[in-house]
């Protein structure tokens, strides 16, 4: 079915509706969508000790949202506590249920500079991202959220690889805890964060560790906390790879999930489906590495300043996550003050990378 751009249909009344009121309308629409689709598909997850119930209207969205979260599934238990957050997810195409008209297409983010969780008076957050056509709404006080896309078949690779990340950032974020645009690998005793913008080598480094004692906690977004000590918590087991990166890991070509969509897209791998033993739910954070592709054979580490580390970590995190601003920067600054940073000059012999990281972790644990 054709989905009208939500921003186009609006009335004067719509513009007066607050986010909380709109959330109510969106929840009713999600419930109607579930009814139309023949019921809900429920799955429970644990994120850093907090429980999330993902309630999809019908089966259509499951292939897009569920695989990257599969390593965080909470087993069914009769005495399971009530979820801390319930996310109602639906698409209009498979359920025939339209999104209630958005009150107004809002000013782009960069004209609302400084937007920040703490500066919101209430507990309701919302964002419509026209680029990827997703709507995310969260009421932190009520513990409910809505995630909507026009058509489950068109969910972007970013939302398949890192589903619900906008909601998770608002829900899990705190002054001492922040979703960060980073990869992370480590052992139960400790690991490293790999920070840098797209193309810096985060995914390559993380995937190079699959055949090593270093476990994979993420290659795009991870949850990082600083209290009581720095730690990383895994969010996603979806890994994205460019053609160049895929050429370095030919054995992974057989497990690409989006083979039919590859033209113009990165390859997406759901590691939980193929390497479940190589995934970690998290570990203490010992260092931040800033990967740089050098073209040289050898992989080397050299100390980096805290400011260089923050400059690698913060801009992409802040510009990729709606409403990330001052608080996010402050959380990341607190992190780089607590753990040492190093430039990881990536060599062409990528099989040697895990050994370099393991040696560093060993040195840091002895220090």
């Amino acid at each position: 079915m054709a989905i009208e751009s939500p921003g186009r249909s609006m009335s004067t009344d719509d513009r007066r509706v607050g986010a909380a009121g709109y959330l109510d309308a969106a929840v009713r629409a999600a419930e109607a969508a579930a009814h139309a689709a023949g019921g809900c598909h429920d799955q429970r997850y644990t994120f850093g000790g907090r429980n999330l119930l993902l309630r999809c209207a019908g089966p259509a969205l499951l292939p897009a949202l569920a695989p990257a979260l599969a390593h965080l599934i909470e087993p069914e238990a009769p005495d399971a506590p009530a979820p801390d957050l319930t996310v109602l997810a639906w698409d209009s195409a498979s359920t025939g249920t339209p999104l209630p008209a958005l009150p107004r297409a809002l000013a782009p983010r960069h004209s609302d500079g400084g937007a920040d969780r703490e500066e919101h008076a209430g507990t309701v957050y919302g964002v419509f991202q026209p680029g990827v056509s997703t709507l995310s709404l969260l009421d932190t006080a009520a513990g409910r959220a809505v995630f909507w896309v026009p058509d489950a078949r068109d969910v972007s690779i970013h939302d398949c690889g890192a589903p619900l990340r906008t909601l998770l950032n608002w829900w899990l974020g705190a002054p001492d805890r922040q979703l960060m645009h980073s990869a992370a690998v480590g052992t139960p005793e400790g690991g490293v964060l790999l920070a840098g913008k797209g193309g810096s080598g985060k995914s390559t480094t993380a995937l190079a560790c699959l055949d090593s004692p270093l476990l994979y906690a993420g290659d795009d977004y991870v949850l990082v906390g600083t209290h009581p000590r720095p730690y990383v918590a895994s969010l996603y087991s979806g890994a994205k790879l460019t053609d160049d990166a895929l050429a370095r890991f030919p054995h992974l070509a057989a497990v690409i999930a989006n083979r039919q969509r590859l033209a113009g897209e990165k390859a997406l791998l759901y590691l939980h489906e193929h390497f479940p033993q190589r995934l970690s739910r998290g570990f203490p954070l010992r260092a931040i590495l800033l990967p740089v592709v050098t073209g040289r054979r050898e992989t080397l580490l050299r100390p980096a300043s805290a400011a260089a580390s923050l400059a690698a970590l913060a801009p992409s995190t802040i510009f990729l996550l709606p409403l990330a601003g001052r608080t996010a920067l402050s959380a990341m600054a607190a992190l780089v003050r607590q753990v040492p940073s190093y430039v990881l000059e990536l060599g062409t012999e990528i099989e040697r990378i895990p050994g370099i990281i393991l040696s560093l972790l060993s040195e840091l644990s002895e220090a």
Partner: protein, 149 residues
């Protein structure tokens, strides 16, 4: 901009952190981010109602044998660059506090006044262009905070 101009950081659009004498600055409006070296950081840290450009220069010039006029010219040029980037704005006169005598500044003296460096990075601007985000908040639709353009 003049030597007696007072400035303030252009918040909330500009966010910043100082780490070990270096500053990381992000302009949320433009998608540009910056780093400042130690001299730039020393100027940045002094921007506010407690010091105009001349006073900032005087404080920093006390660390060198450079003539005060040279220091003022260097700091003024740097502040103009910060303003062009939208990182600082001129502050109203009522923002200025009563000034005491400049504090004594310790540290190593240098023969010349060091030139501050502002390093600019524009590689995030593409993210803003590719994926404009429309935000909503409980205050209403649309929601704009006071001071947002």
């Amino acid at each position: 901009m003049r030597p007696d101009t007072y400035l303030r950081i252009n918040s909330p659009a500009v966010i910043h952190e100082t780490l070990d004498g270096e500053v990381v600055i992000i302009n949320l409006d433009s998608g540009t981010y910056y780093s400042l070296d130690a001299t730039g950081a020393a100027i940045w840290e002094r921007i506010g109602p407690q010091a105009n450009i001349e006073r900032i220069a005087a404080e920093l010039a006390a660390q060198s044998d450079a003539p005060p006029a040279e220091a003022t010219a260097t700091v003024l040029a740097f502040c103009e660059e910060l303003a062009r980037e939208g990182l600082v704005v001129e502050a109203a006169a009522e923002d200025a506090a009563e000034l005491d005598a400049p504090p004594a500044v310790g540290g190593e003296r240098t023969a010349v006044f060091p030139v501050p460096a502002l390093q600019k990075f524009t590689d995030m601007q593409d993210l803003l262009l590719l994926d404009p985000v429309h935000e909503v908040a409980e205050a209403g639709w649309p929601h704009r905070k006071p001071g947002a353009r």
